[in-house]
Amino acid sequence: MYTTPLAGRFIIDDSNAKDFAAAKSTPDGMSRGYQQRDWDAHPLGSFCAPFALPEIPESEWRERVEEKQRRRATPKFHKALAGFDSLDQNGTNYCWINAIIAGMHYARAMNGLPHVALSPASVGAPLKGYRNVGGWGSQGAKYAQEHGVCPQSLWPANGISKKYDTAEAREARKNFIICEFYELKPNDFGQVATALLNDFTVAVGLSWWGHEVLETELVATPNGDFGTDIDNSWNKRWGNNGHAILNRSKSTPDDAVAIRLVSPTVK
């Protein structure tokens, strides 16, 4: 039976999740910031079309995971090809928009576009009235769709200040937008697996962690189950080069966004 090689991998599962959920486990200088989505006020479909792909039967997951690993055919493999690092939210409460911007980086890499470092704060700050507060990914994805995202060359990754909202920045952000994304049903790991097996990364808000991260591939775990590889926003020094594996229960999201299309801009 195929299982993802886990030796040396940073793993978060039911046995140790409590430790990670404790505030003291957040590395010095880092923060989280996932604000649980209010589903009564913002029901599924409030921000975009709900995920419409038919779910891939679980009986097919393992074979597909194995083949995608063997042929190096997941979004995660494109990170090294494009040569970008995990983001670093650096003490802000902007994990929820860092996960979305990371998803844009991956989508661009999968389009073959040169890497352009995009600024999470250029979305999070104006969306939240320039306050360092939490949120959830669907909010950020919708804002990135309507207003675009600034390159870090014009707006620092964690710059929560109106001074960066210049005419030049407003013009530049029009070139980096999310064209299409899906909202996934809460607590539905099958939708997450289907999105990942179709090469769409998924930004997931995880209530148990109070944190949002980007899921980059489905993995088969040794107990015959499945989990996901995540790209965190605590810089590349955390975990394995910024990544870790979450088991199924810890991967299963509250708010979740799969990015399907970004605008193809070269510079």
């Binding site: 083949e67 042929r71 055919a73 979004p75 299409e180 090469d199 399907r260 299309l261 193809p264 070269v266």
Partner: protein, 135 residues
């Protein structure tokens, strides 16, 4: 024209016709991308990716052929058929605008010659098609 030369011409025509329908595109066509070097474009319908044979999803999503193109100092793009390429280079806009008869669609060019046609059925066939123009 002598009978021998007639026969040779006929053989050449048959060979040319067979070459055009080998499922790997037309190797005699002028370069479909008007730029030097190896350039590869895949156009797909991302919303319908789940309807493709899994081997084609793996082919498109693999970094194997992308690393090959990169090693040849080439470039590649993989775009949705509804993508707006106004901010990409002219060579990609031109290649993207070429007629297609199905999706996903592959365009390969080395600046002198190339091919275009339906995406091959799997990664090995895709790599093989790209390598024809990468040497």
């Amino acid at each position: 024209m002598t009978k021998t030369s007639d026969k040779l011409a006929l053989i050449a025509l048959v060979w040319l016709a067979l070459s055009m329908f080998d499922g790997g595109g037309n190797p005699f066509a002028p370069a479909p991308i008007d730029a030097p070097g190896l350039n590869v474009l895949i156009v797909e319908e991302t919303e319908a990716r789940h309807t493709l044979p899994f081997a084609q999803v793996v082919a498109m999503g693999s970094v194997e052929w992308k690393e090959y193109v990169k090693a040849k100092s080439g470039e590649w793009r993989q775009y949705d058929s509804e993508a707006d390429l106004k901010n990409d280079d002219a060579k990609w806009r031109q290649a993207f605008a070429r007629p297609r008869t199905s999706l996903p669609w592959l365009v390969v060019s080395n600046g002198k010659t190339g091919s275009e046609g339906p995406l091959p059925a799997n990664l090995d066939a895709l790599l093989s098609e790209i390598k024809k123009y990468g040497e």
